[in-house]
């Protein structure tokens, strides 16, 4: 096991220096690597990731904010999915363009769905790696997650292009409007997630993402997994149950 003895200080939080475990090492436990003092651990939140910001609740405010945001985002996607379900087969006479059964390519969408699911696994592995102080391994998983996300977006762009060529534009009929709005919003969420992931990679390469900032990766991970569970709903409700 090789241990990089360089000491990293969390400048913003002023937490205790952490030893960084290098690539390929197998630390004995999660608590040994993140380098928080006992008091920091008491106050950083119940999950054993480092977080330097103390609060009255004993939980990380940043993480709390992300969970509040995700709870509110449930309302956004709930509205979009409901709108799709209510309007997909509805429309005035004369707006008769293609419907779901005419354009959907389930085998293709299944592949992109599988890719997005696997990106959740690589994200979880990235969080676990940085928690142990394995910075290089964490970067590899972050880049892998971003690439899988980009592949999913590529698939969505291909799907939209194909549907458009088959006659389904955004204003062709109400199904088209509801479908593109729902899946488009999800695609924007994935794209924002990719940008956040690549920002983490750049921070890591510049030495600004160390084990004592593992919570930052965890918070981005929460967002990424949320995007995944929204797609789990969309895939079943929109694609598999026409």
């Amino acid at each position: 096991m090789s241990i990089d003895e360089d000491v990293h200080l969390d400048e913003a939080a002023g937490t205790t220096p952490a030893k960084v475990v290098d690539e390929g090492s197998e630390p004995e436990g999660h608590s040994s690597a993140h380098g928080l003092s006992a008091m920091d651990e008491d106050l950083a939140g119940s999950f054993p990731y480092a977080g330097g910001h103390h609060s009255a609740t004993g939980l990380s405010n940043e993480k709390l904010a992300m969970w509040v945001f995700l709870g509110s985002d449930c309302l956004l996607f709930g509205g979009l999915i409901s709108t799709y379900l209510l309007l997909r087969n509805r429309g005035p006479v004369g707006l008769d363009g293609p419907r779901a059964e005419d354009v959907f390519d389930i085998p293709f969408t299944s592949v992109t769905t599988f890719i997005l699911l696997m990106s959740s696994m690589t994200m979880a592995l990235a969080v676990a790696a940085i928690t142990r102080g394995e910075l290089k391994r964490s970067r590899v998983w972050l880049v892998t997650t971003a690439m899988l996300g980009a592949t999913f977006i590529g698939g969505q762009v291909y799907e939209f292009t194909t549907f458009y060529r088959e006659g389904l534009g955004y204003t062709t009929n109400i199904f088209g409007s509801a479908f593109y709005t729902l899946t488009g919003f999800h695609g924007v969420h994935v794209t924002v997630g990719i940008i956040m992931l690549m920002s983490l990679v750049i921070m890591s390469l510049r030495g600004r993402l160390t084990a004592d900032r593992a919570e930052t990766v965890e918070i981005v991970g929460l967002y990424w997994h949320f995007v995944d569970i929204v797609w789990i709903l969309i895939f079943t409700v929109v694609y598999l149950i026409p």
């Binding site: 995700l70 709870g71 509110s72 996607f77 299944s110 599988f114 696997m118 696994m121 676990a128 569970i229």
Partner: protein, 110 residues
């Protein structure tokens, strides 16, 4: 309100239950298998049994991801209730919207 000692005990307890890398891979394989089963229903006749099965598999996948990948199973209950609060609020609001639209009684022309 928990004391610092309680917090330390909770942390230690959570650390022992934290999934390993291998656990994450196993969970991903399980999700992949469930997705394959879902996709397989595409070639079956879509009847009520298949629809219920699809909803069931979707819920199982949803719960697995939020429990293990998002760590809600291990994390603070406050986070859990914040998220589930938003989720159930969304469900309640849109079930009412569906009901008001006559979606459940066949009045809906969509």
């Amino acid at each position: 309100m928990s004391t610092a000692t309680d917090s330390v005990e909770t942390d230690a307890e959570h650390e022992t239950r934290h999934p390993s890398d291998l656990d994450y891979v196993k969970i991903a394989i399980l999700l992949g298998v469930i997705t394959a089963l879902e996709v397989a229903t595409y070639w079956l006749e879509l009847n009520n049994f298949v629809i219920v099965a699809l909803w069931g598999m979707m819920i199982v996948k949803f719960v697995i991801v939020i429990s293990y990948f998002m760590h809600l199973k291990y994390d603070s209950k406050i986070f859990r209730w914040l998220f589930l609060g938003g989720l159930f609020m969304a469900l309640a609001v849109y079930v009412v919207a569906f009901a008001a639209s006559g979606f459940f009684v066949g009045d809906w022309i969509g």
